[in-house]
């Protein structure tokens, strides 16, 4: 039982340490990020530096980082689903959902505080 659990945890740890690649819309900026989201490498192709102005080049970097992290998150979710026997989600939500509402989150925390205090 413990061996089985350790094996599953090891698989998840491997997926977190594995490196995934993402690109910008033009494919000329490539970012490699770990499953945990750490940016390992940013490659700006000569074409990207030549064809994009400074502002567009920066935006391309942001897009490529988001793409790499999304791919990493999908791979991690698939691994977790595999080892847990649960179906993988169809879509991995973005790291900061557009529906995130700080006021609601704060109210929920204050409700917990009132119950605890």
């Amino acid at each position: 039982m413990t061996d089985q659990l350790n094996g599953r945890l090891a698989r998840i740890a491997e997926a977190q340490e594995a490196v995934y690649e993402g690109t910008d819309d033009t494919g000329t900026v490539v970012v490699r990020a770990t499953g945990a989201g750490r940016v390992e490498d940013v490659y700006l192709s000569p074409q990207a530096v030549r064809d994009l102005d400074a502002q567009a080049l920066g935006a391309a970097c942001v897009t490529a980082v988001a793409d790499a992290r999304m791919i990493a998150a999908q791979a991690l979710a698939a691994t977790i689903a595999e080892v847990s026997g649960q179906p993988a989600p169809v879509d991995v939500p973005a790291s900061v959902p557009q529906t995130y509402d700080p006021a609601s989150a704060a109210e929920a925390l204050r409700a917990v505080a009132r119950r605890a205090g």
Binding site: V39, L44, G58, V62, V65, R110, A113
Partner: protein, 123 residues
Amino acid sequence: MNPDALSAIRRDIAAAMESAADFVERPASEHYQAAAGDGAVIATVGVGGQLLDVRITPQARRGVDNLTLGEHVRDAIRAAEAEAEQARTALLGSLTIGGRSVADILADPGAGLPGTVRPRRQR
């Protein structure tokens, strides 16, 4: 665990939740920035750690080779994310429950509440 200690922990948890509520209500405009390559690249990260912006100076785009510029981008992103992480860690470190920082408890939950025993599941 005696009732007084339990009450103290409840008060600590309530205070921690209030602080966390204040933390999440910080303005969305709050962000963390870091530069690399002597200011050639500036990365901006949001409160939640999300990468918001990468600014590359026109001079760096023209004067720095593509591989080095990529390294500057990576370094700026990592540094800005480290700033954001440091802020989160500082918040957790400042919160205590039962005399232990929340950061320590999260790192080792079992040690956070000495004297408690996880109940065995009944068959």
